[in-house]
């Protein structure tokens, strides 16, 4: 992985075409971890209900708001099967309307969907640490779809 050199005090590198997030993920985490509208404390555990959080856990790695890259797995609109993979556009952190791209996955059944998720994340080297969580979440969603289909 590329390492970024320390910037000189007050210096921020930015291109005109690229808008950067103002505060780093670490700083945002410090601000959000105790207090956020998505924070739910139950059973001595802290959960977080924002969209890009695969494990719904209130933790730095799982958080769906603060990172440049987040992975979200969601159920598709009613009636469809499969899963929607939601990835965050790295360059569009400050543009909420454009900040997520949705990839609907439904062909070739559940195995195909899981395979697609793996492929997409691996090819792009995109949050590999979340790969297993993404697969699990997708499986859970599709398992729910299976029951309805089975009737």
């Amino acid at each position: 992985r590329k390492s970024r050199p320390l910037s000189s005090p007050g210096e921020r590198i930015s291109k005109a075409s690229e808008i950067q997030v103002m505060a780093s993920a670490d700083l945002q985490w410090e601000l959000i971890k105790r207090n956020s509208c998505f924070l739910v404390k139950r059973g001595r555990k802290a959960f977080s209900t924002e969209a890009g959080n695969l494990k719904c856990r209130n933790s730095f790695n799982s958080n769906g708001l603060i990172h440049r890259r987040t992975v979200g797995i969601e159920a598709p609109t009613a009636g469809k099967s499969g899963v929607v993979l939601v990835l965050r556009n790295q360059r569009q952190a400050n543009r909420p309307a454009r900040s997520h791209s949705q990839v609907p996955l439904q062909r070739r059944g559940p195995r195909g969907v899981l395979g697609s998720i793996k492929k997409i994340l691996r090819q792009r080297r995109y949050r590999r640490d979340l790969e297993l969580a993404a697969l699990r979440r997708a499986s859970a969603i599709m398992r729910g779809q299976r029951k309805i289909g089975g009737k």
């Binding site: 970024r4 007050g10 210096e11 930015s14 700083l27 601000l31 959000i32 400050n94």
Partner: protein, 375 residues
């Protein structure tokens, strides 16, 4: 010195061209300090308080005197006289019915707080900086998933809006309407006595519209629930960070946005304690890597000892031949079992065969006999 990111101005009205680019004011680089902000917010909130106190004479408008000792009653002052149930009752004490309370509240309590100017400015700068971070605004609860940019700057024609209908159309155009819908959904009655005290209805906060000049904008927006309006020359921390929580959703008019640089000249802004808050980046940077020893290979951790006599895998690690022996034993056992089964049940199986196909067998026997005879 630094090149700053560009913010695009959105069109406020139909048919307007959006796309003027403004450099981000340096306020948005101010350190985000929730601790300072919270403190200042707390102090500021006290400044609109109206005093409350108990009446000065409350509990003392009675001439009561203690009966002293020797009368088999507590020594609390008692109401004098007779002819009424009140006479002889305890008075004055906080424990007495109709007595004065403990430490009667006074109007000269310190209601207001002064806050140092620098602290106030720091807090407001922090609050503004926080409004520029998408995740903070979302975490505060604003529904901004569809808006085109944070911070959201719109053209100055928004200041000329006169009708609420136009204001609504504007908010929908700019995709801020979901935040208002959130406010509608949150309208409810307050829990508790506030209901009786003219504070019955509560709702969430919606967007904050910051303008430079009001050409009708306030009247247009003021009836929309949740919307707050302030002038950029009078930025109010209580509006920028309601509840002491960073990250309100702010809609800036273009001139208001431009004025920020004048209001917050570089020299007035507080310094950041950390040049770069990107901890992950720092830890991965070349400078840190150069100073740090190479990563050690994963160290073997202590393994829980398992009993090889009970655990096949552990036994196999110690003595691979054990598997062979085990397999032999299993196969031998199976063979023995099979033999036993055969030996156990030959009679019953023969009977079954006769029952099943007597004709066939007899025919077979006959054929055999026939053959034998023939031969």
């Amino acid at each position: 010195m630094t090149s700053r990111p560009i913010v695009t101005v959105q069109a406020a009205k139909e048919g307007e061209k959006s796309g003027a680019s403004l450099a981000l004011p340096s306020v948005f680089r101010a350190p985000i300090r929730p601790d300072i902000l919270n403190f200042v917010h707390d102090q500021m909130r006290k400044n609109t308080r109206q005093p409350y106190a108990v009446h000065v004479k409350a509990g003392h408008q009675v001439s009561a005197e203690s009966w002293g000792t020797g009368r088999a009653v507590a020594r609390i002052p008692r109401v004098r006289g007779g002819g009424t149930s009140r006479s002889g009752q305890g008075a004055f004490g906080n424990m007495c019915r109709g007595g004065r309370m403990f430490a009667p509240t006074k109007t000269w309590r310190k209601w207001h707080r002064r806050i140092n100017v620098q602290q106030r400015r720091f807090a407001v700068a922090s609050a503004i900086a926080a409004t520029g971070v998408t995740s903070l605004v979302m975490a505060r609860g604003h529904r901004i998933e569809k808006i085109s940019e944070v911070p959201l700057v719109v053209s100055d024609s928004v200041q000329d809006l006169k009708k609420t209908k136009e204001a609504v159309a504007f908010l929908k155009r700019v995709k801020a309407w979901p935040d208002i819908q959130k406010v509608y959904a949150s309208q409810r009655f307050r829990a508790g006595r506030g209901k009786m005290r003219n504070r019955a209805r509560i709702q969430k906060r919606g967007p904050l519209v910051i303008y430079a000049k009001d050409n009708g904008l306030c009247r247009a927006f003021r009836n929309i629930p949740g919307v707050t309006l302030i002038c950029v020359s009078r930025l109010n921390l209580l509006k920028l960070a309601p509840g002491g929580h960073l990250g309100r959703f702010v809609i800036w008019s273009e001139s208001a946005f431009r004025q920020l640089d004048q209001i917050y000249a570089k020299s007035k802004l507080p310094d950041n304690k950390m040049a770069s808050t990107d901890l992950t980046g720092i830890l991965r940077s070349d400078e840190v890597k150069a100073a740090v020893r190479p990563r050690q290979a994963r160290q073997a951790r202590a393994v829980l000892k398992k009993n090889p006599l009970k655990n096949v895998n552990v036994m196999a690690k110690l003595n691979p031949y054990a598997l062979v022996l085990k397999r032999k034993a299993i196969l031998a056992q199976r063979k023995a079992l099979a033999k036993k089964r055969k030996a156990d049940a030959p009679a019953s199986s023969q009977k079954q065969q006769q029952k099943k196909q007597p004709a066939a067998k007899k025919a077979k026997q006959a054929a055999v006999k026939g053959k034998a005879v023939k031969k």
